[in-house]
Symmetry: C2
Subunit: 202 residues, 2 copies
Amino acid sequence: MTIRRLSVYTRCLLQLEEDGVKTISSEELAERFNLNSAQVRKDLAYFGEFGVRGTGYYVSGLKAELQKILGLDREWQVALVGYGNLGSALFHYKGFTRQGFRITVIFDADPQKAGRSVEGVPILSLRELSQEAKGRNLQIGIIAVPAESAQAVAERLVAAGVKAILNFAPARLKIPKDVRLQNVDLSIELETLSFYLAQATR
Amino acid sequence: MTIRRLSVYTRCLLQLEEDGVKTISSEELAERFNLNSAQVRKDLAYFGEFGVRGTGYYVSGLKAELQKILGLDREWQVALVGYGNLGSALFHYKGFTRQGFRITVIFDADPQKAGRSVEGVPILSLRELSQEAKGRNLQIGIIAVPAESAQAVAERLVAAGVKAILNFAPARLKIPKDVRLQNVDLSIELETLSFYLAQATR
């Protein structure tokens, strides 16, 4: 089962909990959130104890279990590197905080930006990354710098003890095997769409 | 083969072409871009004619073929809906233009923004979407509005004839089957990282 789908189910269950729903069947879950019901059943079969024959799943119990598996039962300290358009959008993205990801420090190469702070979070000079990152117990680094600086930033994050990197720069990064890398290339998402459009008009 | 990987190979080949490389073996390609060489060979076996025994692949020929498959041999007209932090970052994201995606119109609900233009691209009122979209031959819509407005925006885009939607709002959208939807949930990417971090510290 892909981890991505666990995230989707967690979101659906959170929504149901907010709406006061106590139990839900896989069919209702699929219908309500536009999911594949066979896939839902198969994926959630791992969590059998939260399913009750004839009733469905206990919303809160299943949600809490999925959150625990996804590491969302704790708070993660995140460093954001790059505070341009994209970095700023990511900093203000409400979804991160809601899921327990706290951006506690921002690094930027621009001396004009370093020294300022946004909503109480300091923007520090990129040069200080190695020293500044250390006392902060940072676990995750988000890279939102231009492609040509991304590899150097990744190396500094790794040197600072970061074990997981979310990379938005359109660059293939080389990092040690014990560091987890997740690349987000926004144009790849568009290319998946153009692939289907091109197929349809051929 | 996932379409996503075709996109990755295309990027690598573009880079090689810029560097003046004419042919490359699957091993070199894998090594240079940190890919899995067995996977590369398997994926590119579909494009056998661009592989030459003992030499590798013709960089330009393979790149052009992959671009054609991905629909990157033409220009796509894109509407961006929502010009907040994220919308602004997406508009300025250089990767889109480079791959042939042109944002030709922006829609925003804020009357303060509507009527302005950015880099020659008009920002129009969200209310005008249906009328304004029609003459523009828009093929792709990017949704960068808050979750609660996303479904309504999607419906307007569909009514305006858009056949592919890239959705950044953390909402599960319901759209007709003949419209292709690609969801980008930025916190899902972080959750994949926290999943691995949580596993490692358990």
